[in-house]
């Protein structure tokens, strides 16, 4: 019997797992996909929000500011990419200026430091590519960018190193309440646990309703993005937001932590929780609105576009806490600023578990994690040392991002390793560049096929493998 089972291996589920790894507990993460970081966590703006936007007093405000304050230290200890690049919220109309003042007031109430209002000219001095129409801006110095894949993998790998189990490709079908806990039926096995953390993202309502009669609704909100080549990555150095107006929330333009330029997202409530398709109208919208903020974005350098679904709850805030059923804890409706908030939410979830099960600190707790060597960012001496130890680091597989065979082998072979092309891509950036895996995918597929002992055409881009290595048509 487990003490805690976490349902969902996104940023929140993995953060909770990492926190629970600090204690003498039997914990396990269940994930229906074949990898961690497969849902909402993998497709968002990758921003560590400063915390000026959330309503004071809300859970969003609390965890946003806490998470933002934790992130730098975590990135150092757990070896994931993070950069404090600052942000601006642009105002295009004198009449909208009070909106900036309100944001500033919210920032003060939420305890966000380094926030000021600047003129249009000052904004353009800091970011010369900004539109001439900008008349004022909110400057937020603590805003940052992060790699959401690496961050979530880092949480998961650290949790794993501290003894948390991960059962991937394991989908929860039903949950029965027992006297001393729960029995969870999955597509693979039945599992007993004293406590459940529901971090199932878009499906948190479905999981919740397996246990509780109290209604919960999670609405998928589609957000479409365009990602541009690194040659466009320096157009702006800060994350550029637009002040929400009558015309809508606006979209952001930001460098990514790996040096690409990202524009998006649109915001559209839809019904289908699996609909991650992009649309012509959505992409057109991203393009035209992004150009309001930043002049001359070279949209001919788009290397890919994608859709993310935010898991929007029906309360206007995160839904985090004990449910009406003792031992069943919800972490639902984690939309923006969810990525930022994840580590703080994880801490809080561990506290909630502590209210049910006494927590005892683990001896030999490991508080660090070493990521995959990003060859491209090492010094020549470090690179040569690596190649000497392991010649596979001297073989470039992904030309566009300079990813070596050594990194790909590490991504495949390490605990919770990649089993799909997208899994390798998220861990190493192989296939993330301008040719979008045209050159490297046959090699990566061959390496995956070799590891798994399957024919190359059975290697999946994404999704689950069945037991016999074939396709799972579910």
């Amino acid at each position: 019997m487990y003490d805690v089972i976490i349902i969902g291996a996104g940023a929140v589920g993995c953060a909770a797992a990492m926190e629970l790894g600090k204690y003498e507990l039997n914990a396990c993460v269940l994930e229906k996909e074949s990898d961690v970081c497969e849902g909402t966590t993998k497709a968002n703006s990758a921003i560590v929000h400063a915390g000026f936007d959330a309503k004071p007093g809300s859970l969003k405000a609390r965890f946003n500011v806490q998470g933002s304050n934790m992130m730098k230290e975590l990135s150092r200890k757990l070896d994931f990419a993070y950069k404090q690049n600052g942000a601006m919220v642009l105002c295009f109309d004198e009449n909208d200026k009070p909106g900036l003042v309100q944001l500033k007031e919210k920032a003060d109430k939420n305890g966000v430091k380094g926030v000021s209002i600047i003129s249009g000219d000052e904004a353009r001095k800091l970011e010369p590519a900004l539109s001439d129409a900008v008349c004022a801006a909110l400057l937020a110095e603590t805003s940052a960018i992060v790699c959401p894949f690496e961050m979530t993998l880092a949480f998961a790998e650290n949790a794993y190193a501290n003894g948390v189990d991960f059962k991937l490709s394991t989908q929860v079908l039903s949950i029965d309440k027992l006297d001393d806990g729960f029995e969870i039926s999955t597509n693979k096995e039945k599992l007993k646990t004293r406590c459940i953390i529901n971090a199932a993202g878009l499906y948190a309502d479905k999981i919740h309703s397996m246990v509780s009669d109290k209604p919960m609704k999670i609405i998928p909100r589609r957000g479409e993005y365009m990602l541009l080549d690194k040659s466009a990555g320096a157009l702006v150095s800060r994350t550029i937001f637009q002040l929400p107006t009558k015309m809508g929330k606006g979209i952001l333009v930001t460098p990514t932590v790996h040096g690409n330029l990202l524009a998006g997202p649109t915001a559209e409530n839809i019904d289908d929780k699996e609909n991650v398709s992009t649309t012509k109208s959505g992409l057109d919208d991203v393009r035209s609105k992004a150009l309001l903020s930043v002049k001359n974005i070279p949209f001919n350098k788009v290397i890919t576009s994608f859709t993310g679904l935010r898991a929007v709850g029906d309360t206007g805030d995160f839904i985090i806490g004990h449910s009406d059923i003792r031992g069943f804890i919800d972490a639902a409706g984690i939309e923006s600023p969810g990525l930022t908030s994840a580590p703080a939410i994880g801490q809080y979830l561990a506290e909630l578990v502590g209210e049910i099960i006494p927590l005892e600190s683990k001896k030999n707790y490991i508080d660090t994690r070493k990521g995959i060597a990003h060859f491209n960012s090492l010094s020549v001496d470090e690179q040569n040392e690596l190649i000497k130890q392991q010649p596979a680091y001297g073989k470039i597989v992904c030309r566009c991002e300079t990813v070596t065979e050594g990194e790909i082998l590490d991504a495949i072979n390490r605990p919770l390793g990649a089993t799909t092309l997208d899994g390798v891509k998220r861990r190493t950036r192989a296939g993330m560049g301008r040719c979008q895996a045209g050159f490297c995918s046959p090699t990566t597929m061959a390496l995956l096929a070799q590891k798994m002992g399957i024919p190359i055409e059975k290697v999946r881009k994404t999704g689950r493998y069945t037991e016999n290595g074939g396709q799972d048509n579910e």
């Binding site: 788009v302 470039i396 566009c400 301008r434 040719c435 895996a437 046959p442 190359i456």
Partner: protein
């Protein structure tokens, strides 16, 4: 041993031809750097025939063509290093030498030096993301060349029901290849009103297998979350915008993209080489020297060719020019003629000619921007006509090769214009 006269980046058809020509011109201390595990580049996966009609006067497969050159390289004892990727090229200010940083398991990361460099890195395919096709991002969407590699080199069986977007030559070749592998190719959709592939490939790869070519059509939506389930194809209007009412669903498990090739010039750009936005290749003069002294460019990294035979021919000239630069130093530049493009001419390689250093015959290569029937290609300098060549048909899929005599160049002023003269109605 880390200081060479000439370093050639890329061991495909361009790099090998450049090396052979440089060797013949008297350069012994040269080195080819190839990132793949064998010489030959993309030819190794082109197992169809149709190569070498100009060069060897016989029809060879891609690997055969590559092997002939690889054998010559070995015969001439030209050194080459495989599994070696160039990370950067830098022109040193003080010595004018080129510093080339390479990586391989054998060398580690190392900087080697050369007096001259030939860029012969080839090109890459335009991926789905750059085409902005809306829809899902499932498995089963490949660029045609990636599919070609998976099938021909990895022996993978990638799909059974196929749609191809873009009628580039690799797409056409893959239509036939997939058919021979037992797949059904439902259609080849091409955005433009004409094919971007060679006529012979349309006949031999589509017509012979009853595969429809849908001109002025494009893919407007991709279905299937994890695995491709189908695509919507629609007709496009004159402005290349899809017409919603004409949308038709094609169930398929494979979508191949053959929508253009992009010279792979990231290294060149980092090295300070100026790029012509029309070709995405370097600006070169008649000797195929780039804007950086002692750095030459040839083959598909310079501009995308239709036939490998022309790559070999062009690259040999780059090799010769590099040899001349190494042996004689910087050429004297007195009179420069700029080549301007007029009606119907998309670009020219070279974009300028140094008259004094030009050979007796100067090749000017370009592509046209549409289909032109019964026209003349005209070169003028001011009002003076230097050359006129009648042409039955000019199509964008075929590169045009004009040969201009030095005596004609000497008649020109500072600029010449090349254009297509259409018959007056």
């Amino acid at each position: 041993m880390n200081d060479h006269s000439l370093i050639i980046i890329g061991g495909g058809p361009a790099g090998m031809a450049a090396a052979l020509a440089a060797k013949k011109a008297g350069i012994d201390d040269l080195l080819i750097l190839e990132r793949d595990s064998r010489l030959g580049g993309i030819l190794n996966q082109c197992i169809h025939n149709g190569f070498g009609l100009h060069t060897f006067k016989e029809e060879l497969t891609g690997p055969e063509y590559a092997e002939r050159y690889a054998n010559m390289i070995k015969q001439e004892q030209i050194p080459y290093e495989l599994n070696t990727m160039v990370l950067s090229v830098e022109c040193l200010k003080d010595s004018n030498k080129k510093a080339i940083t390479v990586i391989s398991s054998k060398r580690g990361v190392q900087t080697i030096y050369a007096k001259a460099v030939v860029l012969a890195m080839g090109c890459r395919e335009r991926p789905r993301g750059a085409l902005n096709i809306p829809g899902y991002r499932p498995q089963g969407v490949y660029t045609a060349g990636t599919a070609q590699k998976l099938i021909n080199l990895e022996g993978a069986n990638i799909g059974k029901e196929v749609v191809i977007l873009g009628s580039g030559d690799i797409g056409l070749i893959m239509a036939r290849r997939m058919t021979l592998e037992g797949a059904h190719v439902a259609a080849v959709a091409e955005l433009m009103p004409y094919s971007s592939g060679l006529k012979r490939n349309i006949v031999q790869c589509l017509d012979d297998y009853n595969i429809p070519l849908l001109l002025s059509h494009t893919v407007v939506d991709i279905k299937g979350k994890e695995k491709l389930e189908g695509v919507y194809i629609a007709k496009v209007d004159k402005n290349l915008q899809p017409i919603e009412e004409t949308k038709e669903y094609y169930p398929c498990d494979t979508l191949l993209l053959s929508c253009g090739l992009i010279p792979e010039n990231e290294l060149s750009v980092d090295g300070g080489v100026e790029i012509d936005p029309r070709t995405n290749g370097a600006y070169v003069d008649e000797s195929l020297e780039t804007s950086v002294e002692g750095v030459f460019s040839c083959g598909n990294v310079l501009h995308v060719h239709d036939l490998v035979d022309f790559v070999s021919e062009e690259s040999a000239r780059a090799g010769e020019s590099a040899a001349r630069y190494i042996l004689n130093g910087k050429k004297p530049i007195k009179e420069t003629i700029e080549i301007k493009t007029g009606n119907g001419v998309r670009y020219t390689v070279p974009y300028k000619i140094n008259v004094d250093s030009a050979d007796e015959l100067t090749h000017i290569r370009f592509r046209v921007s549409g289909v032109y029937k019964n026209t003349s290609i005209v070169i003028k300098s001011g009002e003076k006509e230097l050359m006129r060549k009648k042409s039955m048909i000019l199509v964008p899929s075929e590169m045009v090769d004009l040969v201009l005599k030095k005596s004609k160049l000497e008649e020109a002023d500072e600029a010449i214009t090349i254009f297509i003269e259409e018959a007056s109605q």
